[in-house]
């Protein structure tokens, strides 16, 4: 029995874990692939999505058709010239403008007919507005901007003439937490959650699949090492690496994208740690059935990255999803992390939002790590 006692003794276990950890860190230092996943991949995705994905419409090419120039028409079109939202181009006839829109050279048309000045004086001049509806979201934005600009012009013109503005009410909007309404401010924190989902799952799934591929896992299995030790020896190094990647992403968000960080760093770190455990747990779970790197990578992308992208509320509002799909989003760890990140970055340490989401993250981490432990066997079949 002394043999058994020795196998299970803590000292031997610590020695084995130490050996495995030393090996793992030496491999990380020599094989750049895990460093690439932890640092390069998040940086690249942040750059691509951070600069590429924007929900603001800016510099939209717009056709201005003025059939008969006049003072009123000139002052109307001038208000478009100075708008940051539009890049107007003049067309002489509506036909030419329509052709340009069909060719997607412009996204909208503003059409002042020949009788614009005359009917304006009469008290009701129609302005033709055509918006390209191929991209419904953009179309709605453009429509809104157009209305805003024309309303502004009408008010200014009325004030110039000392007349009361023809508007019964005035809305005075105030936007909280993101006063400049930069979509980047909400997108970038959400993106960090999505990116960390992918890099966390990839880190563990890929390195374990690599051990299967190279036959090192089979050799490990026949030593005294226990399954706990193998899992811990993967979790600890890649947790460290993942936190490094997270820190780099936050740094990029703040200094490169200029996203304000109102909450505390400590809280951010704690939430990230919980989330990373869940993501690494997903990777471990994947590795228990994917035994080559290609399959592991595919599964990590399809099973973690894509659902997080679509269902975490980072891009699409969860409240406007149908109920069954809303129910599914509760299973997506990124959902809770997106909520925490957006709150910590833009609002600050808002405990009523953060605490329930942290609790959910802790539960997810427990769930995935527990499942990974249950499925991991010291056997090949």
């Amino acid at each position: 029995m002394s043999e058994k006692a020795q196998i299970l003794s803590g000292a031997g276990s610590l020695g084995r874990l130490n050996g495995l950890l030393r090996k793992e860190f030496a491999q990380i230092a020599r094989d750049p692939s895990s460093i690439a996943i932890a640092f390069l991949l998040p940086a690249m995705l942040l750059l691509i999505f951070g600069y590429g994905v924007s929900l603001d419409a800016k510099n939209v090419p717009l056709a201005l058709v003025v059939e008969k120039p006049g003072a009123a028409a000139a002052s109307f079109t001038a208000s478009f010239m100075h708008s940051p939202y539009f890049r107007p181009r003049r067309f002489l006839t509506i036909e030419k403008a329509e052709r340009a829109m069909a060719a997607r050279e412009v996204e909208g048309i503003v059409w002042l007919r020949a009788d614009f000045t005359r009917r304006l004086a009469a008290g009701g001049a129609p302005i033709g507005v055509i918006v390209n509806g191929v991209d419904a979201n953009d179309a709605r934005l453009i429509e809104g901007y157009l209305q805003q600009i024309s309303a502004g012009w009408i008010t200014a013109r009325a004030e110039d003439r000392g007349m009361p503005a023809p508007m019964p009410i005035r809305v005075q909007p105030r936007v909280w937490f993101n006063p400049s309404l930069r979509s980047r401010n909400t997108l970038v924190p959400g993106l960090i959650a999505i990116i960390m989902t992918l890099s966390g799952a990839l880190l563990t799934a890929m390195v374990i699949a690599r051990e299967w591929e190279r036959g090192t896992m089979e050799a490990l299995m026949v030593t005294r090492v226990s399954i706990h030790e193998i899992l811990l020896a993967k979790l600890i190094p890649y947790f460290t690496l993942g936190m490094g990647g997270m820190a780099a992403s936050v740094a990029m968000a703040v200094w490169l994208f200029g996203v304000p960080l109102h909450g505390s760093l400590l809280l951010l770190a704690a939430a990230s740690a919980l989330f990373l455990l869940a993501a690494l747990g997903m990777g471990l779970l994947i590795s228990s059935f994917a035994r080559n790197q290609f399959v592991a990578g595919q599964i990590a992308i399809i099973a973690t990255f894509l659902p997080a992208f679509i269902l975490s509320g980072f891009l699409f509002n969860i409240d406007s999803m149908p109920a069954p799909i809303q129910a599914i989003t509760y299973l997506i760890a990124a959902r809770y992390f997106v909520a925490i990140l957006q709150t910590v970055f833009l609002a600050g340490d808002l405990w009523s939002v953060i605490l329930p989401n942290m609790a959910a993250l802790a539960l997810m981490a427990l769930l995935f790590l527990g499942a990974a432990r249950l499925l991991a066997r010291k056997r090949l079949d």
Binding site: G19, R22, A26, R214, T216, E218, A219, V222, R224
Partner: protein, 591 residues
């Protein structure tokens, strides 16, 4: 734990059974396997690929769940206490997991940590292991930068960090150069002798059986024989002969010998044919008939393989029909074009980064020759092959196949070449028929000609019964036939075979070579790579390659003759190979 009595075997296998699910049905990998492995000896687990050797090793190591029966290792039930078994044994899987980006020393450290070897004991044990494996000077080298043989030795050192009582080695010598192979065996022998270790070693090389204390002979998941190696060769004593017939082609002689009654086995060995008789009496050469009057017969010592072949032919093996294609009569004896060199490799080098995989290789192959490239894994055989197929351009030098320069007319050259890749590149999901149809269209055959060629291939290779089976589920021997049928679809006059018979059983290998010989007789030029010393004997001429260079070129008996000495009057191909490598190493040290 000192109470273990000597009666307890190191391994007890009691009606062991294991099945795997494959394509919706359960396939038995091991059936009713009973055996005992005695302590303090080397036991060889011998059998062709797919016999179930690795499955058995993994079951013994507690890595697979047992379906039926019981396994006891050192008196411990594996199914109940796998951890205790794993703590007591050392196991080296076939592809031993060395961490290639760790150094030799770091790999040892890792396994010392995992095996719980105390820090104080390490210097002494490391010194011992490094001395034994000859890895001493390479402590700081990355494992990934070691040669194949050195990697195997490092793998062995890692499993031995804490001397186990039982050592399981799964095909440790496959693809390793003969020098390293001998060194590995020397290490294993010394472990058994000086440390009293028990070793179970699996191998597909039949010539290794004779180095074992006891042998378990496996075939298709069953134990078909066990005992000392001599038990297998003894019944074959005085039943082996060598036959020569001056003035008659060796292939015609072999083909004829295989057909006379009383001959169990006939195999080309260099310039002569080695036969095994069904009884102690030598078969009468008169049965050879006219044209073979010059034939001479002399006795030859029995080998382990003879015993295996006899067992397979006797036992209820699902025998491939004994109907080798009849050799074409002398009809195709075209006038021997004066030195028609069909393949010319001239000072070819191929560099990958700073490493020359092929370094100044030259040889020529004449029409109708069977030419071999013999070498260990990593010797440069496959790179040479790829360049000859026009798949890889040489860094310098020139290659000509059938008169075409591969730099300029690779496609034209390829049309003349049939290529059978290692591990047979077939489409596993397609049926035999579909594979044949696909390769026929890939070679540009269509219409009546395509139908005729497919029908001919099906008949010639007797694939009819399997026509609708998906090629993944074919027995290894039939896969090999199908691959050959596909390679010959466009009737090429040059055939490239890359490791064609590694791991197939001896009967399937004989059958395959009968077909190859028939092709050679009909004028097809054949280039074959192999790491089997045995297979080199079937070639007319060969080159021996190591480290990307040619060490020797010529007929096998000429190469062997160079290493004849008083104590070795009949050197084997392996003796010659080892001699060549040693001489090459001396020259390199001197230079």
């Amino acid at each position: 734990m000192s109470g273990a009595t000597s009666e307890v075997p190191a391994i007890l296998l009691d009606r062991v059974g294991k099945s795997f699910a494959a394509g919706g049905q359960s396939v038995a990998a091991l059936e009713d396997f009973c055996a005992r492995v005695a302590k303090g000896s080397v036991t060889g687990l011998i059998g062709p690929d797919g016999a179930g050797k690795t499955t058995l090793m993994r079951l013994i190591a507690g890595l697979l769940r047992l379906d039926r029966g019981r396994i006891e290792v050192l008196g411990i039930d594996v199914a109940k206490e796998p951890l205790r078994v794993q703590a007591a044994i050392g196991y080296m899987p076939q592809h031993f997991g060395l961490y290639e980006d760790l150094t030799v020393r770091e790999n040892l450290d890792l396994y010392a940590d995992l095996q719980g070897l105390a820090q104080a004991d390490r210097p002494e044990r490391y010194a011992e292991l490094l001395h034994m494996t000859g890895l001493g000077p390479f402590g700081r080298r990355l494992a990934g930068r070691l040669s194949g043989g050195m990697k195997q030795k490092l793998g062995l050192a890692c499993t031995l960090v804490r001397a186990p009582r039982l050592l399981l080695l799964d095909e440790p010598t496959v693809g390793v150069d003969p020098v390293s192979r001998r060194e590995l065996w020397a290490i294993v022998d010394s472990l058994v002798r000086s440390e009293g270790m028990t070793v179970l070693l699996s191998t597909a090389y039949l010539d290794e059986a004779e180095r074992c204390g006891a042998v378990l002979l496996m075939h298709q998941g069953r134990l078909i024989g066990q005992g000392a190696p001599a038990d297998f060769t003894r019944p074959m004593a005085e039943r082996s002969f060598r036959v020569t017939a001056p003035g008659v082609g060796k292939r015609r002689l072999q083909e004829r010998l295989a057909r006379i009654p009383g001959v169990l086995d006939a195999l080309i060995q260099g310039s002569h044919v080695r036969i095994v008789s069904e009884s102690v009496a030598a078969p009468s050469l008169a049965a050879l008939g006219p044209g073979f009057e010059t034939a001479l017969i002399s006795p030859s010592p029995a080998r382990f393989e003879d015993g295996f072949v006899a067992l397979l032919k006797k036992g209820g093996r699902t025998a491939p029909p004994e109907s080798a294609p009849p050799l074409p009569q002398e009809r195709s004896k075209r006038p021997p074009a004066p030195s028609r060199n069909l393949i010319v490799v001239d000072h070819v080098r191929r560099r990958f980064g700073s490493f020359y995989a092929v370094d100044d290789v030259s040889f020529t192959v004449e029409k109708g020759e069977v030419f071999g490239l013999l070498g260990a894994n990593g010797a440069g055989k496959s790179t040479t092959f790829r360049m000859l197929c026009g798949l890889l351009p040489p860094s310098s030098g020139s290659l000509r196949v059938a008169g075409y320069d591969l730099r300029r007319a690779a496609a034209a050259a390829r049309a003349r070449i049939g290529y059978m890749a290692q591990k047979f590149s077939l489409y596993g999901d397609l049926s035999v028929n579909e594979n044949l149809r696909f390769f026929a269209s890939a070679y540009g055959l269509y219409g009546a000609r395509r139908r005729a060629r497919i029908a001919a291939a099906r008949a010639e290779f007797e694939l009819g019964p399997y026509a609708r089976a998906s090629s993944r589920d074919l027995p290894l021997g039939y896969k090999q036939r199908l691959a050959l049928a596909c390679a010959l679809m466009h009737q090429p006059d040059i055939l490239f075979l890359d490791e064609p018979t590694s791991g197939v059983d001896p009967l399937a290998r004989r059958e395959f070579w009968r077909r190859i010989n028939a092709l050679a007789e009909s004028g097809v030029t054949i280039l074959v790579t192999t790491h089997f010393m045995e297979e080199a004997e079937y070639c007319d001429r060969l080159v021996i390659m190591a480290h990307g260079r040619v060490l020797a070129e010529g007929a096998s008996e000429d190469i062997k003759a160079r290493f004849q000495s008083a104590e070795r009057p009949e050197p084997t191909m392996e003796d010659a190979f080892v001699g060549l490598i040693e001489r090459d190493e001396r020259e390199r040290v001197a230079a």
